[in-house]
Amino acid sequence: MKKALVVIFLGYVLLLIETALGFPFQLGQIRLDGLVPLIAWYGLQHSLPGGILAVLGLGILSEQMSAMPAGLYALAYAGEYLMIRYILNHIVCAAVWQQIMLISFLSIEVVAVLLIGSGAAELLWPWGFAQALLNGVFAPFWFFVFDKANSVISSEDMRLGVKEHSEV
């Protein structure tokens, strides 16, 4: 439960940064996006059925910051999460190039759902694939950031836990 809240919080921060600072992160029809790697990172560690609720939460949050049709983000992100859970036992995601490949592959699903669902299917080539590639290229950076954030939050929890224990 705690991890789900952490992921929703991280996702919300990313959404705020991406929408508030907007255009500097945008090139043509693509943008630096941390949400797809975040869901993949979360999917690699957190199992069903609890995990899907956080992903749906992120989808609903994303929807509030976009004019996208209702439910589309939730559908795209849920699809990504289920895909990564399905292929989990068949992949290794330790090396940088493996992370790039994995996120590029998952991004194609997310981008395709979003573009087709919003009536902009003609942008799938070249922009959709360019977005998938961009997400993949930046995946190692995002994974590093999420791992760091997670370890900081976990160590803080442990510190507080020890303190509470000693107080008792």
Partner: protein
Amino acid sequence: MTAYLVLAVVVFLIFVVVGLRLGSPAVVSPVKYFFVDLTGYLQKGLSGPSRWGGKLWRSYLALQDVELENKALRQEVVQLQKEIGRYREALIANARYKRLLGMKEDAGATVITANVVGVDLAPWLATITVDQGRKDGIKPGMVVMSGAGIVGQTMETSFHFSKVLLLSDYNSAVAALIQRNRARGIIKGAGEGRCYLAYVEKVVDVEVGDRIITSGTDRIFPKGLLIGKVSSVTEGSISDLFQEITVTPAVDLKRVEEVVVLVTNQPFVESHH
């Protein structure tokens, strides 16, 4: 088996969320608007420093050419004053003719300035969030402008913030006409801050540089507001009925930072007399 069950639950949850949003907006709206306001304030806080930095940099650049610019501006002021005199005369004459013809005056509009605090999460959707909302009288379907011309229309409002659909969005359509020859068409969004003028027949004479203005027939935009200028014209293939006309908006839609919203109580309707 478990996987199928989970999949069914996920699909069900998505349907519940979508159903609530579409079917019972009254249930979801208060929560949604609270969230939009909260997010708006956070976006405003985040976008503030970058906006301020940008302004500072532009001010510095502007200072470098200030003497030359001053000289040119003084000459321009003299020219403009002459023009204002002529326009005043035309305005007075116009009012007199309107009275003679018994036509109604345009609906008066209050102008509210707003800052852009956020952009759409999806790069191919051209919507922005501005920091004025229902408390200022803004409702969906109101005209949003910048100094140079129209920017778009409001599409959703919370108490303190509003979402604006830009001219360049694929879902945007504005009734327009070519100022020079009064030929009518529809301005549609083409993404990436660009637009095109649709449904103009091949027999119509269109030139690069022609000014495109609102026609007022869509009941949202009042007549005569500048949209942009024609940047290219092609006839298309022989089977095409209409010309392919790209329009460069008067406002740089990818760099817009401040806008004005025309707040009215009634729609702008073109007078037909």
